[in-house]
């Protein structure tokens, strides 16, 4: 082992592995008692003032390890509840059932689901558990261009667009739209946004205790998801300008973006990459899009949908129009995103 090779065993700010998720949620509540409460029996983060009568309830959820997603997005103008599964493991139907019941204000509930078999199945089962009692619709995000879309496979993963969708659809729900309208906006956002990511390092699932994959000092995994998994292919580490091209080009192609189009550009860190690098990556993305005449109408830079302490980044582009821009700009007040209030 090289003299200064850092640790590869697990080094985390935790007590017992089994307590990580509930303790982290307790910390979220302690830090934001004005915004959220926790249903500790179900590991559900609930908007403080839920249920709000006359407002469509929005819930999401997924495995933990993606913080601030989803618990950090509960609050005014975004989610009404978020279900936290174990690390990288979809929550169970009981959790989504509890969340759905907690947020229903009589106008129905939208389930925002990322396209992973586990998430889809567990949300579906939850919807069955409240069928006939609460009207539920679902939107399944599947924005990851690294994976080819196909009817015959598990399809594309839901990644960065999920964050943007929760914000935008949250604004629509806050404004009093019906469940059908909210669901339609959700489908629109999912249809207009695409993402792709790469990893510089792996990460350690606490209960596993070892890195999910091994990677050389000069290698990157391109086309990763958000579960610490390896990507579609392995490449040599290159200057960030070039690596940003690897991510931006397939997205631009998939969305068919042209000169004059306006996008929300979202450069997301995978959890262990500091802002100095993320802004450098944003600079690369800005240069690439600028070179093609694509306008950055709105932007978001930071660690918003993560894979524990993985180093790396993803790029999400969302085609903007007036409606989406207005909904993006609308007030939001959650632990992780806040403006206009």
């Amino acid at each position: 082992m090289a003299a200064n090779a850092p640790s590869h065993s697990m080094k985390k700010l935790i007590n017992n592995v089994d307590d990580l998720v509930p303790e982290s949620l307790a910390g979220l509540q302690a830090a934001h008692p004005d915004l959220v409460r926790i249903d500790a029996a179900n590991n559900v983060v609930i908007r403080k003032d839920a249920p709000r009568q006359g407002k469509v309830g929005l819930i999401s959820g997924g495995g933990s390890g993606h913080e601030p997603m989803h618990g950090g997005y509960v609050g005014l103008g975004m989610l009404d509840a978020a279900c936290a599964g174990n690390v990288f493991t979809s929550p169970v139907p009981d959790q989504m059932e509890a969340a759905t019941r907690a947020v229903d204000g009589g106008k129905g509930v939208l389930h925002i689901v990322k396209n992973y078999t586990g998430d889809v199945l567990n949300f579906e089962m939850a919807a069955e558990l409240v069928a006939g009692e609460i009207e539920v619709k679902s939107v399944v995000t599947n924005d990851d261009v690294a994976v080819q879309d196909s009817l015959y496979t598990a399809g594309r993963r839901g990644v960065g667009v999920t964050v943007l969708l929760e914000k935008i659809v949250g604004a629509r729900a806050e404004a009093g739209a019906s469940l059908d309208e909210v669901a339609a906006t959700a489908e629109k956002v999912n249809g207009q946004g695409r993402s792709m990511g790469l990893a510089l390092t792996s990460c350690i699932v606490p209960a596993a205790g070892t890195p999910t994959f091994q990677i050389g000092d000069d290698e990157v995994e391109v086309g990763i998801g958000i579960h610490g998994e390896p990507g579609r292919r392995r490449e040599k580490l290159r200057p960030v300008d070039e690596m940003a091209e690897w991510l931006v080009t397939p997205i631009v192609q998939d969305l068919g973006l042209k000169a004059g189009d306006s996008v929300l550009a979202f450069v997301n860190g995978m959890g262990g990459t500091p802002l100095i690098e993320l802004y450098t990556a944003f600079n690369s993305v800005n240069k690439i899009l600028g070179g093609q005449g694509i306008k950055i109408g709105r932007s978001l830079v930071g660690n918003y949908i993560t894979s524990l302490e993985m180093a790396g980044f993803s790029v999400t582009l969302l085609r903007l129009d007036d409606e989406l821009t207005k909904l993006w700009d609308a007030p939001v007040h959650t632990p992780a995103l806040r403006w206009g209030v």
């Binding site: 495995g63 992973y116 078999t117 586990g118 699932v205 994959f213 998994e229 579609r232």
Partner: protein
């Protein structure tokens, strides 16, 4: 059958716990590194459920009591596992429960019916088929082999042994497969060369069935000897 199923669930919990690290390691290679953890949590919860569960009321039919136990085990898996395997295995148990509740000429026949129903349930829920590099690649061959053994007059030990062998071979056969379902599908060509964790756990569960059934048979033959 009730006793046999309970023994199986308890033995499975022990074996899943032992195998959890290796199942997780398989999932690290082509998934997200939690399959062993997930199943261990689920079967741990099943044991807790077994410990607390009142014995069936006197006079309950064995088939009904067995179905009820399997149903509770399935619900436990659904409530505790999460991920893809929670709903899939949970549904398998619920379907298995439905199948054993009916009239069967023998425990072996009930087992085959349950295995077939479970396998079909997973395929329906998962919108998946054989050859996609999932647990189904252990389960479908196992169900076919069990049916063939039963048709050929096999007793419970023979039938479960056939299922075990076919499931083991099926799990191994996932190695060269290209995944089209589950997380491994995201890897494309890179999924080739790794054994599917779900197929591996399915084969393990069937190996424990055969073990328990074999032990019961040995006991029985010992008793009659």
């Amino acid at each position: 059958m009730l006793q046999g199923v309970e023994s199986w669930l308890r033995a499975a919990a022990t074996r899943v716990h032992e195998a959890a690290p290796s199942l997780t390691a398989l999932d690290q290679a082509i998934g997200d590194g939690d399959h062993g953890i997930n199943l261990d949590r689920g079967f741990g919860a099943i044991v807790a459920m077994l410990d607390e569960r009142p014995s069936p009321e006197d006079g309950t039919r064995d088939a009904a009591a067995t179905a009820d136990l399997l149903r509770q085990a399935g619900k436990t898996l659904i409530s505790k596992v999460g991920g893809a395997s929670g709903p899939l295995y949970g549904t398998a148990f619920l379907r298995g429960a439905g199948a054993v509740a009916g009239d069967h000429p023998s425990a072996a026949a009930a087992f085959v019916a349950a295995l077939e129903a479970a396998t079909g349930g997973i395929a329906a829920l998962g919108k998946s088929a054989e050859g996609e590099k999932t647990m189904l690649d252990a389960l479908f061959p196992a169900a076919r082999a069990a049916r063939a053994s039963l048709d050929g007059g096999g007793d419970l030990a023979a039938v479960t042994g056939a299922a075990r062998d076919a499931a083991g071979a099926g799990a191994e056969a996932t190695i060269p497969m290209l995944a089209t379902k589950g997380r491994a599908s995201y890897l494309g060509e890179r999924s080739i060369g790794h054994q599917d964790p779900g197929a591996t756990s399915a084969a393990l569960l069937l190996a424990v069935v055969a073990e328990v059934a074999g032990a019961a048979a040995a006991d029985a033959s010992g008793a009659t000897a």
